[in-house]
Amino acid sequence: MKPILLHGHERSITEIKYNREGDLIFTCAKDHQPNVWYSINGERLGTFKGHTGAVWNIDVNWDTTYVLTGSADNSCKLWDCQTGKMLSTMESKTAVRSCGFSYSGNLIMYTTDKTMGHPCEIHIYDINDMREPAMIFPIAGSKITSAVWGPYEEYIITGHENGELCHIDMKTGEKIHAVQEHSKQINDIRYSKDMSMLITASKDTTAKLFDTTSLRHMKTYKTERPVNSAAISPIRDHVVLGGGQEAMEVTTTSSRVGKFDARFYHLVFEEEFGRVKGHFGPINCLSFHPDGKSYSSGAEDGYVRVHQFDPSYFEFRFDY
């Protein structure tokens, strides 16, 4: 593989998302400008200017018309994807940790941090009426560190700082379901292609596979360092895990020891079969291209690397 390095950010990458067709990559980082790139050649299409704090999360709706970003400057912004113009700003009392479009693209949710005496909250907006939030749910207990919409917009799946994974009802804001499989913070939640399964990446050095509707724990992928992100291949029974030691310890060790490789596991057998190295810092986010033929990773070193799989990857058969 000859990866394409996207160097549009000056600080560590916090999130990478492909749009539905996979021709665009959206990246955001701890600097203030999210970027959008063509995935085919790594050409930068544009940047979204307006945030004044670290951008924690980014999402794009299904027809690639709107982009949503959540930032530590206590705001969530809606952008026009084609022109890069800011359409709307949703202010919150604390930093926005995660945000997302519902599958239809009609609803927006974002979650806020529990700091400065304010509780952790989920805000839901209707995209056709951006003046007021449609709903605000305060979340008691451990704060939300990662959140995605459930299928059919019935609930929101939240990962918490204490390792809990919950379904939050869209209408009442109550916890319908809660499982505690992780012992530490859930850093990332990503769906399989058909949204029937989801994978969680946790600081407790494992990634786990869950059934979306029942939250039944199915598989565990073990490493020896905190896992910051995990993704499921859309075409093969593979998952990829990214992580490494904690960012604050990075300067004290070499990259070989830090284990900054992207690690590929078999989905069913939970066994690692491949590694891709290259980053100089822990990987913060990973995403497969929707066609499954490439993936990209963003790391603490500020680079996004877009990898096109070699034929050897597709020829590889897991021995069992």
Binding site: M1, K2, P3, I4, L5, L6, H7, G8, E21, D23, L24, Q33, N35, W37, Y38, I40, N41, G42, E43, R44, L45, G46, T47, F48, K49, D63, T64, Q82, T83, G84, K85, E224, T253, V257, D261, F264, E271, E272, F273, G274, R275, V276, K277, G278, R305, H307, F309, D310, S312, Y313, F316
Partner: protein
Amino acid sequence: MVKTVKTYKIEHRRAPKTVAKRKNWRKFGEAENDPPGPNSANTIVQVEEIPMAFVHNEEEQSEQVEDPLNKLKTQKLVSCRICKGEHWTTKCPYKDTLGPLQEKLQDDKPATADGAAPPGGPGAATAAGSAAGMGSTAGGKYVPPSLRDGAKRGAGETMQSKRDESATIRVTNLSEDTRESDLQELFRPFGPIQRIYLAKDKNTGQSKGFAFINFHRREDAARAITGVSGFGYDHLILNVEWAKPSGTS
């Protein structure tokens, strides 16, 4: 002159209509003024081939052991100078008992090494004594002319002193109140003493803080050095070493 050659591969791909449309979007934000195609400032195609390393689980396990911290764990990070235990010297439980003993032993080592150096003969002994004195300051590498081959004969003949100084030790860091009788008392147990010279101030008659002790036998002197060096006497810690011959000082 540098000639840069760039090779482009033109590919034709079929794409959905929406994707093709997006390909023609105008750039915006910081990329607004970029020319068509990737900007080399932001997009770098890595020249280096990064293969996917296929691993097996057994390899994985062996690699886990390879943590440098683990390696360090087997080594002693902290070693006590007194009992070689894994703690700081100041925290050693044997600090008060073993410590002074060992210091004595350590001082003993260079002393005996020096003692072994001078060859027989009264004349040569003086020369060797001076060599030992100088050698200790030079770190032992430097061979003084008097010790070099062919220098032994003749040298020192004129420098011959009346007293045999090979069994003389110098005691320093004495307190002002020390008297010769005190030194006699202190060094008597090590063997017969030929002479004690305590440096005194001419006017006040008080000790200047150092003394020379001449033993009859060199072995006694050596034992006195190991025994008394580092000894606490009158709130001061004594320093005992071989005396430099009077000729060199």
